[in-house]
Amino acid sequence: MIQEELFEITYKKNIPLITVFELTNRCNLKCRHCYLPKNDKCSGSELTTEEIKRILSQLKRAGCLHLVLTGGEVFLRDDILDICKYAHKLNFDFRIFSNGNLITEKITRQLAESGISGVEISFYGRESVHDKITGVRGSFEKSINAVNLLKRYKIKVTIKCLLMKSNFNDYPWLIRYARNNGVSYRFDPTVAPKNNGDKSILKHRLSNQQLKRVFGDKDLVGNVSFEDRKGGGFSDWSNDLFCSGGHNSCGIDPYGNVYPCLQLLILLGNLRDKTFSKIWHPGNGSKLTQLRKFKQDDLQVCNKCTYAENCRRCPGLALLEDGNLLGPSSLSCKMVKVQCDKNH
């Protein structure tokens, strides 16, 4: 109830309660489904430690409480523990998304001391399946080691898995692994296009038959998310909701670019040029002001859909994959149909 109250207040007042902060696009794995383009022609260099600390201070002042530090692979940054300590000093509820391959005992000890709320480790299945998807032999073993280390130092661990054709048969194994090891698990069937619009990776998406099994599996109830890369995801507390991105959730990339969320790639400004407050509270006529005016009623096609009530349409996916922020998202359409029709 308090969570709902906080969500509603921050949504209405445009307070960035949740921020997903990509600290680097560099990665030590070569995952076949990665949404970051391989030759990331980025706009300049990654944010420095001092720039990140300055941004965190600005986020705190703006009201951000929940912070996700992600990548790429965040442990490729030498300053990650320093950033964690600073996030703790600013009283953020912060967690890290990682593949776990660079997590050593020394790092884990320091993470435990940093006050981190949790670490989410990406897994794709048993060793052969996992290593094939990541493109790096031995990555599975390193991820397993990371889970064991984090558990030993009493850091909350969640294993998260993108469900694809190639690892679909391994999800029951992952559930057993999570349960046997006392860690949480989360599955996501949303393979999104690359950030540059490249749709070649969509071939990895589950078939309708596989999706049907996902939605019918009681072991997955409450553990399937649909907008893993979104800051806050959809909420169903109001029918008048368009999306939380740009209201109470926000995304920042490694170069200081601010987006409503990391799935909704509408560039709002750069933190090297402006403060967070200036970007998040722009004048009338700005892209963000326009975005915030959108309501459920503006979704003219979706509003007429018989599945609308159950749909978890993601505007970022609709824009990236189908080219229309206010139009249907083909993946969301497919998923809601399978979900609603699974018993017929």
Binding site: E5, L6, I9, G63, D93, S117
Partner: protein, 85 residues
């Protein structure tokens, strides 16, 4: 005995309410404006008497009732590890 807020916990003031997260339990707590005032007062270690005197000077309230309420408030805060003695 001095009382201090548990500075290890994530928290924010949003819309005049303090929201505190307990990462271990994933619980979210909220403190109303009076609770927020107490949260501010215990940013540094202070005695219970100091807090009661301070609030008594700021609010139109019977001192015994205030004392009982504050003691109960800290009992609950203690149960949920929101304060450090």
């Amino acid at each position: 005995m001095k009382i201090k807020r548990n500075n290890k916990l994530p928290w924010r003031v949003i819309d005049d309410t303090v929201y505190i997260v307990n990462p271990a339990s994933s619980y979210l707590y909220s403190l109303n404006p009076l609770g927020r005032r107490i949260w501010d007062l215990i940013s540094k270690p202070v005695t219970l008497e100091f807090i009661i005197d301070k609030l008594y000077s700021e609010y139109d309230v019977d001192k015994e009732t205030l004392k009982d309420d504050i003691e109960e408030f800290f009992r609950i805060m203690g149960t949920h590890h929101l304060i450090a003695n």
